[in-house]
Amino acid sequence: MIRNTLALLTLLVLLAGCASQARYIDPAADDGPVTMTLDYRDFERAATEAVEDMLASGAVDKPGGGRYIMAISRMTNDTMQRIDTDQLVKKIRVSMLRSGKVITTTAVGLDGAEDEMSQRARELRESAEFDQSTVQQTGTLKAPELSLSGKILQRNHRAGKEQQVEYFFQLSLTDLREGLAIWEGETPIIKRGPNSSVSW
């Protein structure tokens, strides 16, 4: 009886030792397996290609220097996954801001301002409770000159005994003065894996 209990305990300890432990992953040195769904590496690749191409094309090099003001327009998720498109857009915004070429307005958006505080802060103009010299003046908000829009597409195919999932990151940068797309880019990300892998 005691021998059996000891054997069972030893087995349990061994099994516990083999169990995968939660651990941190360093994005700069991640050799982890590829997933059929979109993961952070895919968003990073799409954003890197878009930003580098935008910078190299000269589309965001403002004549006379200075920064363009960009608004974020519609970013459609046409995949079978629930994706927050900000995973892509934020990376682009951050990199463009760091480049010194583009700054994003949070006061204008398709579904209202991203940060409503720009408007709310102006509602204090009538309030006697606030020192009016500290309230934002009229005509100080900056209107956007560029608009970033795009779509993420997904197409699934059977390739023999495998499944092929194609993702396309499509982006357009529009000059709002003329309504012309001054830069466009598409990054395909193709994955092939066993049929058992689920991509939605």
Binding site: P27, A28, D30, D31, G32, R41, E44, R45, A47, T48, V51, E52, D53, L55, A56, G58, D61, K62, P63, G64, G65, G66, K91, I92, S95, R98, S99, G100
Partner: protein, 134 residues
């Protein structure tokens, strides 16, 4: 029996060596000379870098963006991962969009060209690292 004078010299020497060991390694004040291209031996086995060119993209504000391109020719079907690290004039790294390696495949006999654009006009140098993907 050692004379007292010799003992003192030995003690002073030991003390000197001990203090030297505790001293901090001097920090270089100028940017280190870096190789522009680092290729891991595992990658060199199946492919070679045939060219590495750079150009400056002139900007309207007077600055310029560094643009690089390198070519890889494979002798057999090969996979590799590559990444560029950017540096400013002081040798400090300049953040790009992401930190991940970019995985690519090269067919036998194929030459592929890869390029990257610096994230800021402050960038003056770079280092490309080619490695075997995980």
């Amino acid at each position: 029996m050692m004379p007292i004078r010799s003992v003192r010299i030995v003690i002073l020497l030991i003390l000197g060596l001990g203090l030297a060991a505790c001293a901090q390694t001097p920090v270089s004040e100028s940017p280190q000379e870096r190789e522009k291209l680092l290729v891991d031996p595992e990658v060199q086995y199946s492919m070679e870098v045939t060219e590495l060119i750079e150009k400056q993209l002139e900007q309207t504000d007077g600055g310029s963006l560094l643009h690089i391109q390198f070519a890889v020719k494979a002798t057999s079907r090969a996979q590799m991962a590559w990444k560029v690290t950017w540096f400013d004039a002081q040798g400090q790294t300049v953040k790009g969009v992401g930190e991940s390696y970019r995985n690519v495949s090269v067919l036998p006999g194929q030459t592929r060209y890869f390029s990257a654009t610096a994230p800021h006009t402050d960038v003056v140098s770079y280092q490309i690292h080619l490695r075997e993907p995980g």
